[in-house]
Subunit: 316 residues, 3 copies
């Protein structure tokens, strides 16, 4: 997320109660998780093993839970609980705005677009031209929808990222990373009934041009779906996963988070994808393997009784 | 779909820009995909390997991409892109009608039926007597619902068929077959919260009398579900599949498109059905097998280490 | 369910047409399924093999389909069809109340709670403080929601239990056990978009404090989910299942009904749980096994061709 205007690091230090080290006169221009940071961003790190990744990232302001040498040109904000400091900044600059009507006055809606009754369009939403938003769709604040997009009834775009830090010493253990990313739907996308697409934690969840989603599909926070993909019903995609162009996922496929499926891959129904897949191939199984390998495995399993027979006959 | 009144084939030839061959004076009475055509219908074919099936079908008017001899009593409409011609006819005779209120004035609602707040009832919908339509349900135009039907909150009936023709040479590759079929819910059906039932491409999706669906169920376009079926939560059924009477599907079962599950079959939880199943039996697995076969397979797998031991001991 | 005030057993005998045996002067204080009964409750039994369990349960009034000796201090109501008698009592004391507006006047809503547009809040619902109910959520009558609860768009809380008695001799075979339980959401729970949580048949479905549910999750009737659980998207939980505290279920996991998953168990993505699991362990597979056992099995399967080779080489 980018701020509307730059924010002085000294103000942030004061707001969060952090100790400022390094450049005291910088201006932060946005806030982002470590894997999304660009120059000017505030990011945070609270595990020593990620210190280096964060300190050498593009982030300009780093909220950190230990006093370490400040890299040239950056600002460190040292505080015991960087996660909570990060969340407090998100809440400050991207506060929840209660809605008073089904279609917000601050939404921009292109010509030729129909919003059917019962559809909710949140604050600062942008919808392009010639779209069709069916009844009882919910579009949370700040979503961006292109042209010629059809969203079927009951879909939910822009719900919060499912991202929690576990604090085992608390009575309520899961502490929410309040999200401030957006959902971006490119042109010519169609989204089937009852599908849900969560917003990114700080970056955007993107559905690429011409991609078609069937019903009951779940797209996790910050996932990036390429162009001309086809997902059948009840597919689920984990957070921050990248699906390249022209990927086909059949029904009930589950894809884990933080991985990449290469261009043109086909994953057969009910498969489970725990790790990245090369493009251009067909996959099956849970966990997934190349379909031809998996099919061979299945036929080998059927031959076990025959093997057992062979082994025992030789005993005689 | 049947037209409101017969349409002269010469008008259709002109409207689509097709060359007319054969009987010039026929009237088309409807439009249907090849597997649903009845006498009087317009259908289309664009692959040579399906020419014969289409030319010998009940279709009276055939949109085709090659000049072939016209069968007796039929009319051919020859055009480079039959798919697009078909879509243009569907759009002309079954245009989208934007809604202005949650319950359309053109809907017919039987006595004793409650429509709860937030439910959307589209144009030309028919709902029978003593039904209960819970909040935030969406019923698209032209759906037909019988008597004593309960539809729980968040359901979507009649969303578009998920049916696309891929055109790899275009920037936006998936070209939508605009659907004009209906959803028909027979008497005494109950549909669980958040379920979605898509309309047929040109024919109807049917849920048979007395069938009970749990939550989050997806029924694809043109599927025909028999009477007294029981589907547990999160089941998905592909397009045009036929489920005969008294079939029981447990949770998260996935059924592929274009197949038949025979009467009284039981499919255990999480199974995947890629091909037709005989009735009266119990099945399990992904891909599915008879449950007792599958269970034996699973116990054989557990004996592999024992076999390995036997083989290697004999080496000594 | 407890009645608003005690109901004389003689009134119930007359209302249902049952023959009264035993204590004629008792007052029933509620109605419950056999596994939920407490003192004062009416329950029912219609299978001889469950007679003993019901007659020795805490139930005070037992609707039964055979004249048996009445246990001391109880009342029997003998009738040919106890199931239908039970349903008629539920309908009498927990009748459907049609809604006339999106937020019922009989709902109680705490301070600091936002109900977004398009959300439905039924009769007699209680919502605590500082909750956020997103658009197009449906909360059925009698649900109870604690403090600091977030419910994302499209969720459905309190839909009917999916519980039917099959009567094969009828044209409409599945006879519904009308449910009168509630959904109780404890404090600090977050529920992802499009999730559904059914009410209990007669008891309550409970989501424990601090539990976080992702999108498209289904929780069956009467399930009890512990505190600080984390369920990823598209998980399904069967009716009356108990999930103890701090259980983690990854995406698309399916859990059958009437079982228990012990504290702190972790079930990996797409697993299917057909029977109870001990706490503190990690599981995988469909049907599920301990993850390390399952992983070993998967690697043994890959060695079958090598075994086949070994066996056949020895033939030479």
């Amino acid at each position: 997320m980018k701020f509307e205007k730059p924010v002085p690091v000294q103000w942030i230090a004061e707001f969060t109660g952090a100790k400022l080290i390094g450049d005291k006169d910088q201006q932060a221009t946005g806030i982002n998780e470590i894997h999304k940071v660009t120059n000017g961003d505030i990011s945070f790190v609270d595990f020593e093993k990620y210190y280096n990744a964060c300190l050498t990232s593009a982030a300009t302001v780093i909220i950190i839970n230990k006093e370490v040498p400040c890299p040239e040109g950056k600002t460190l904000l040292v505080i015991a609980d960087p996660f909570s400091a990060f969340v407090s900044i998100v809440k400050r600059f991207s506060p929840f705005e209660p809605a008073t009507k089904m279609v917000s006055d601050s939404a921009t809606i292109g010509t030729g677009t129909h919003i059917q009754p019962g559809a909710f369009v949140g604050n600062h939403v942008t919808i392009g031209e010639n779209c069709l938003i069916h009844p009882n769709v919910t579009i949370y604040d700040h979503c961006v929808i292109g042209n010629n997009v059809t969203i079927h009834a009951g879909c939910v775009l822009g719900a919060d990222a499912f991202y929690f830090k576990r604090r085992k010493d608390r009575e309520v253990q899961y502490d929410k990373l309040v999200s401030c990313g957006r959902v971006i739907i490119e042109d010519d996308v169609e989204i089937g009934a009852g599908s849900t697409i969560d917003k990114g934690v700080s970056g955007d969840t993107i559905i690429g041009r011409g991609t078609k989603l069937d019903n009951h599909i779940h797209i996790g926070h910050g996932a990036i779906i390429g162009k001309n993909c086809l997902f059948a019903a009840q597919v689920g995609i984990g957070g921050k996963t990248i699906i390249e162009d022209e990927v086909i996922l059949w029904g009930q496929v589950g894809v884990s988070k933080d991985l990449t499926i290469g261009k043109g891959a086909i994953v057969l129904a009910q498969s489970g994808v725990p790790a990245s897949l090369e493009g251009g191939k067909t996959y099956f199984g849970s966990p997934v393997a190349e379909a031809k390998t998996k099919m061979r495995e299945l036929s080998w399993i059927k031959r076990i009784p025959e093997m057992w027979e062979k082994i025992n006959n030789k005993d005689k």
